[in-house]
Structures are given as structure tokens and as C-alpha cells.
Amino acid sequence: MDFSYLETLLEEELGPVEEVGEGYRNVWVLAEAAEGRLAPHTLEVMGKARELADSLGVYLYAVLLGHGVSGLAQGLVAYGADKVLVVDAPALEPYQPEVFCHALATLVEEKRPEILLLSASDLGNDLAPRLAQRLRTGLLSHCLDLAVDMAERLLIGTGPAMGGRYFELYVCPEARPQIATVEPGQFRIPYEDPYRSGELEAVDLPLEGVAGRLTWEEVDAPFAPPPEPLSKARVIVAGGRGMGDAESFRLLGALAEALGGQVAGSRGAVDEGWIDEARQVGVANPPVAPRLYLACGISGSVFHCFGMQDTEFLVAINADPEAPIFKVANVGVVGDAKAIVRELLALARGEG
């Protein structure tokens, strides 16, 4: 008798044989070295990746690419890796996008991780999109948070939208590995456990076939982004007459610098000659919309408040508890603005 129809029937009942993600297991992190040590942003990613690996019930691999970096592998175990893959080759120094992409793609195709995380550092931002295109998979970039949908083992990435005004969640259901870059400064560096044990594997990759085409030269200048207009600043430290004198007002400039923001002033500060008119917040200039606005010694006239009404988080420091600015502030501090700014500056410098 002919039973071939049975096979057809069975196939229909079982559905497609291979699912997306079949054969892909484990969470990987690309580790970066900086000045002979593991980069802090890599350690932040390690902490989050350990959480993801634990909730998925899989191993955490760290991948270390570079030249003369083998000594750092044990450190990755201390920060949570179960296994460290080390590719130590002269071709991996200095950074060449094509060589790094080739090395990482070869490892991924051979060992098939389900999730690969990189830091959204200059290196990660340069490498991750190229790798995703090579592997024909999606990339969740600049993630501020990561989670896992356990039902489908999907990585959910929360990234900034519209210049960070809100977040958008993305997933990549139909391709593996799921790649994401993690914005530095979002996660805590996990505790170092020097007694943790893990496996180290030196991988020998043939890298002769691809040649890096970039020529590098160090420039002895720390990176300083071009000045942005006040209306685009993320942090603004503003002062008014309540700062007392020009010398105290200069503290605000230092505080703004320590917080990575810009300094501004109210009408009063401009009239006193402590700050340029272009940096006045009010109706005379384009409105500002920072994430954090520190109003120091500003009473908060209607015009001033109009100029900064799109601020996300407003902190007011003023000696007068009846000052109108306290009615709109998210946090109000009653006290001498001069002294409090001086203390804040010490705190900001201490942690920066």
C-alpha cells in the first residue's frame, strides 16, 4: 500500500519544521578595551547582559577582540561572563571596521548567539550597523533599557525618539542574532567577583583575507563638540540677581560645565552685566527646552518662565520662600543660592 499521504498529513499537522531562532542560544557581549583596561561602558553592558542571560536560562559570553588584550579576559569573568572568547591578533589594532566586522561575523555564524549586545560607544556605533547588515538582521540602537519577552525569547529595546522626547520600543522577531547597542551611563557596573570561575577560549581566526583600509593618527585634542545653541542645550544652569555678585555668578558657569550643560541668566543678571544678552532666558530670545533647568537666585517673572516653560525638570534655588518660581518648580530649595551652588559644584566635580 502507498502510505506517502501519511507523511503529507503529518507535515501539515506539525507545521513548519524550523522555527526562527532554532539553534541560536546564549547572550554575547562585545567587550572593549581602553588604555589597557576594560572600558567602563563595557562593564555596564555586562551587568545588564547577565540579567538577560539569567532570565533566559542561558550562558553569557564575552567576546574580546584586539591585540595584546588576552590579559583582560579573566576580568570579564569577574564581571559575570561564563565564557570569554578572545581573538588576539595584530590585525585587530588599530580599529578597522571591516576587520572587526569580519571577525565578529565569523564567530557569530559559527557559534550562533541569540542576542549580541554592544555598547553605543564610538566603536559600537561604528561596528554594530555594519555587522547587522552583514548578518541580515535588525539592530536596536542606542537602547536606554532592554527587556526580554519570554514567550518568544524576543529582545525588546527601548530607544530614544524625536531627540529623546519619548521612547520607542522595537523588536526583531524574524532574524537572529538580535543585536542591540546600549547607551553608556544607563546601567550600573556590576560588582566585581574575583573568585568567579569561567572558561577562557583563545580563538584563532584567519584574518589575512580582509585588510583594514583606514590609516589612523592620534590627534592630541580631547573631543569637544561644537557649541550648540542655548535652545538645544540639555542642561541649563541659570542665575539671577539673587546670586549677589559677578564672582558668585561665575560659579554657575563652572557648574554648567561640570553637568555638561550651558549657562544662562535672567533679565536681572543681564542688567548687572554678569552675562551676555544672547544668553538671557525670557521673551527676547528663542525659548529653551532643556531636560534640566537650574534656576539659581531667580524669582521667576512671567517673562522668564515663558522662555523656559518647555523645561522637563525645573529646580529653583531661592532665599525667598514666597518667590513665584516655586509655584512652577519640580523641586524648590529655600536657601542662599550662592552657598548651595558652591556645594552642588563640589558634588558635581566629586562624581564627574
Binding site: 571596521p97 550597523p129 540602537s141 531627540g163
Partner: protein, 258 residues
């Protein structure tokens, strides 16, 4: 010498207001602009053209309104403009866009330099440059602040791990220019008129670019939106300066503001 500049039209984020407490997004002013980083990339191309001579071609993938962005590019000084427009692109994610732009670049061969904006203001994914470089098999440099012609290569000053670095990349290559790297020029009034009256923007569909259904399948899928926690209002801090400053600092840290 031909330079292709990939530009994108975006919704101006300045017109978008988010109410954190109600978790709603309001578009107060629907204004579409040429992305600031893309504009810088175009300016870099035009400066290269003035210094060493080049033909600058602007390419944009987008809906019908992206035509305006390309005419703005023509007004600024681009020599030709191509609009990649097809209903099949409506669902395109960045990988699809990169493949379409790569196909367009191949049709424009010989191309010596491809310039893109490093990160757009709307999604800010910063993926197009490296993805395009991979699709074309070209070397790439991202985070560029200066791009100069240098004898068959481009000399680029780039941001690199908290410092600046100088990189030479042989042409052809893909370079992603950072927003704010240069000051984009204002187009001359007569050029704006010509951009709409005289000059043409060519349209290419998915079929013109030879893209298959597989090429057009998006991989990144939207899963909803989220909002940062709404800050609490009206909290008052009192006390000695040192204590008050410490308490304020802790609040700022808990809100991830510092």
C-alpha cells in the same frame, strides 16, 4: 569625481510636545525639514566641490513630501537629485533603506564618495552610514567633523572614544558627518526659485533599483512607545546649604538628570 549625499526629510522635533503626565504626544507644528546632520553632510560635499571639483548628487528615500527636501538640496547647490519613492518603501526599516540607497548608488556609478548624516534628529539610530558601506563593500568612517580631499583619499577628523582622531580613508568610501560639524549655507533666493521651476528631481521606484521582495522585508518591528517617568511637582527642600545641596543632588540622580 562624483559625490552622492544621502539625505532624509524628518519631522522637526521642535514642533513635538510630550505630556509626560498624560503619556501623550502632541504635534503642535507639523514641519518637515532636511535633517541637520544630513544638511551638514551636504555642506561638506559642496565644500569639497569648491575645493577639488566634484559633481554632487542628492538622494533621498521617502514619501512624496520628501521631494521638498531634495529641492532644498538642489537650492543649496547639489547638481542632481534622485527621489527613491515607491509604495513598497512605506514599511521600510533602516536595513531596507540602506539596501535601496546602495542600489541607487550603484546605478549612479562611478561614485567616489558617499556622504550621510551621522545621526538623524528623529530616530537618531545612526545606522545608515555603516549599513550602506557594508552593502556597497566600501570602507567607512563615522562621527566625522572635518572631511578634506587628500590625493585619492579623504582626510577625516573624527570623534573617537572621547578624543579626536585623524583618519585617512581611500576612495571610494562612505563617511558619516556629525550634526554641527559645519555650518550649512543658506540657499540663494534665485536658486530656490530654480529648484522648483526649472530643475528636475528624478524618481526611482523599487523596480528601477532592482530590489526583490526579500530586499524589501523589514526586520525591526515597532512594539509601542514608552515615556520617562513624570517628575514630581512641588517638592521643597530646606536646611543648611550642605544638606540641602546633598538632598537636591540625590533627587537629580534618582531622576537620572545628572
Amino acid at each position: 569625481m562624483r559625490i552622492v549625499v544621502a539625505v532624509k526629510q524628518i519631522l522637526n522635533p521642535a514642533g513635538v510636545v510630550v505630556n509626560l503626565r498624560r503619556e501623550m504626544i502632541f504635534v503642535n507644528r507639523e514641519e518637515y525639514i532636511l535633517g541637520p546632520a544630513d544638511k551638514c553632510a551636504l555642506e561638506v560635499a559642496l565644500q569639497w566641490k569648491e575645493a577639488a571639483g566634484a559633481e554632487v548628487v542628492a538622494v533621498s528615500l521617502g514619501p512624496a513630501r520628501a521631494d521638498d527636501a531634495l529641492r532644498e538640496a538642489l537650492a543649496m547647490g547639489a547638481d542632481a537629485a534622485y527621489h527613491l519613492h515607491d509604495p513598497a518603501f512605506d514599511q521600510a526599516d533602516i536595513a531596507v533603506a540602506a539596501r535601496a540607497l546602495a542600489a541607487a548608488t550603484r546605478r549612479l556609478e562611478p561614485v567616489d564618495l558617499v556622504l550621510v548624516g551621522d545621526r538623524s534628529d528623529d530616530t537618531g539610530a545612526g545606522q545608515v552610514g555603516p549599513r550602506l558601506a557594508e552593502a556597497l563593500g566600501l570602507p567607512q568612517v563615522t562621527g566625522a567633523y572635518q572631511v578634506r580631499p587628500a590625493d585619492g583619499a579623504a582626510e577625516v577628523v573624527r570623534r573617537w572614544q572621547g578624543r579626536f582622531a585623524r583618519v585617512w580613508v581611500p576612495l571610494p568610501a562612505v563617511v558619516a558627518v556629525a550634526a554641527g560639524a559645519v555650518k550649512p549655507r543658506y540657499p540663494h533666493g534665485a536658486r530656490i526659485m530654480n529648484a522648483y521651476r526649472q530643475w528636475q528631481v528624478a524618481r526611482w521606484s523599487a523596480a528601477d533599483l532592482g530590489l526583490t521582495e526579500e530586499d524589501l522585508r523589514p526586520l525591526a518591528v515597532y512594539r509601542g512607545q514608552a515615556f520617562p517617568p513624570a517628575p514630581e511637582v512641588g517638592e521643597m527642600v530646606r536646611g543648611e546649604p550642605a544638606e540641602a545641596a546633598r538632598e537636591l543632588w540625590n533627587i537629580l540622580k534618582s531622576q537620572k538628570l545628572v
